[in-house]
Amino acid sequence: MTAIRAEKLTKQYRRGVLAVDGLDLAVPEGQIFAFLGENGSGKTTTVRMLTTLLRPTSGRAWVAGYDVLERPGDVRRAAGVALQEVGLDDLQTGRELLELQARLFGLSRSEARRRAAELLAVVGLDAHADRRLGTYSGGMRRRLDLAAALVHHPHVLFLDEPTTGLDPRSREHVWEYIRTINRQEGVTVFLTTQYLEEADRLADEVAIIHQGRIVAQGTPEALKSSIGADVLAVEFDGDPALSGRALEALAALPQAAEPRIADGQLYLYVREGARLVPRVVLELEEAGLRPRAITVARPTLDDVFLRITGHHLAASQPAAAPDGAGGATPAGQGAHR
């Protein structure tokens, strides 16, 4: 059975910004599905439409079989949601927040107490249960928010960038928890992320969203295999234009299909990359270019993302300029940074 389905789901904001553009989606029950994309690619808007917080401009969507427009109450009962901004009330204690959440989902007082205690133990916050949330660290707040999303045993769990801003240890903790609830309770997990590692390690299936459209979808392995080649990266010190010159110098390589330049590096997608390195070195020497490093690696999801969008996903992380400004461009379009 399909846990989440969307047909031509579209959201256009009043200012004319097309955030989600005719999205089609089908997530089977019990799957961990990752929505991978940059900031502003439409991930959060999609989650908000699927969870009834935002009305689509057009298209339809169903969660646990319920139409998000026609049966929003049933969708809310079936879905647990942890949004990107951890929405907690600092004046309540962890226990109070979970108990209130449980009671709003229709649990009796005793059931709510039992469920809150159970979840506090599961997310490792039982020792802090009676402290006000204003005293919780970022990681603790994120874990409590996850617990709040699970208080009513949802069929589908939506997690919008669940580990953004967390330290590596807290991130591991959250990943482990997501795996556990997926395995033990069969909860379908729909998570958005801009972290490749998160998508790679957690997800059964990944969809890459770019400018409001799904541009690639499959298992992490299938996506990586779709490149069908090794990734040969040529890195230079100093002038980023050197990558463009290197591309010209290596244009004769028959294997160098659809190269990309990103962050001052040249990426070639080649078969048997290791065997090609001596020839690359030779061609660059003849062109008077001295690379700092040449590396050959198996493709990662970042390579998939780069090849499809022309951007490194890392270029759109919070520290970078908005809208990926300053990111790389597809070398095929002859652009240089």
């Binding site: 917080l53 809310r76 949004l83 929405g87 009330d89 004046l91 959440q101 989902f105 229709g106």
Partner: protein, 250 residues
């Protein structure tokens, strides 16, 4: 989820917040009492002679009650919930959306009733008297609660519509012109014609006169009827505004 149950659960949460921030309520209690004391101390004797009043303390006590009743913070609390993201967390539950907002207004109404009881008690201690007796006192407390509830929804509507804490607090600023355009410090009969007209169309006038009748006159049913009608009118207007603001957001 039943609307009444959801409203009650969320009202308890809002009340818990109020209790956990007692400092916020000190001002809501002290400022009306301060104006009460200063007004009575400064012009009490003159006012009694000039206006032909026998009990200016009793005349002023309902002003302090009304002042405290209008100090609701539901609008501010809602904007804080919106900014923290907790408002959306609540919208993601099956609780009716109106209950999420209505509960905050309910909490303000209960708070207004408690403040009214305290101010009324202090008024009794300093000689306001209470013509309608203990049942009348309870009615004054209920009336203050109802007015606090109705007026609080103004701030909620502003807060929901704008998302701004400053806008949410505009309701309290709006209250002062309404109070000064009511017979707060002198009987309406001595007002200049334009001010008397303003007082006549001002619903706060009738709430104040209804409360005052309980303190000074006993059970004046006509005044009480007008007071509850005025509160009903204010509530209908502010809650309609709130529903409209909620629809624009949720």
């Amino acid at each position: 989820m039943n609307t009444l149950r959801a409203t009650w659960l969320l009202t308890l949460r809002a009340l818990r917040e109020i209790v956990r921030q007692p400092v916020n309520e000190v001002g809501n209690l002290v400022i009306p009492l301060f104006f009460f004391a200063v007004t009575v101390g400064a012009v009490g004797r003159v006012a009694e002679r000039a206006f032909g009043l026998e009990n200016f303390v009793g005349f002023q006590m309902p002003v302090a009650v009304l002042n405290a009743s209008a100090s609701g913070t539901a609008g501010l609390a809602i904007t804080q919930d919106v900014m923290s993201g907790y408002f959306e967390k609540l919208l993601l539950t099956p609780a009716p959306r109106f209950a999420v907002v209505f509960a905050r207004v309910m909490a303000d109404g209960i708070k207004a009733a408690v403040l009214a009881a305290v101010i009324g008690g202090i008024g009794l201690l300093v000689g306001s008297g209470f013509a309608a007796g203990p049942l009348g006192f309870l009615l004054l407390v209920a009336m203050a609660g109802a007015f606090g509830f109705a007026f609080s929804a103004f701030g909620v509507a502003f807060g929901l519509r704008t998302g701004s804490p400053q806008a949410a607090q505009l309701s309290f600023l709006l209250f002062f012109p309404l109070l000064f355009l009511a017979p707060a410090f002198a009987p309406k009969e001595i007002f200049a014609p334009w001010l008397r007209f303003a007082a006549t169309i001002n619903p706060v006038t009738y709430v104040l006169e209804g409360m005052r009748s309980l303190v000074l006159d006993g059970w004046a049913w006509a005044a009480l009827g007008r007071a509850f009608a005025a509160i009903g009118g204010i509530g209908a207007f502010t809650l309609s505004l709130t529903v409209w603001a909620l629809r624009s957001r949720a």
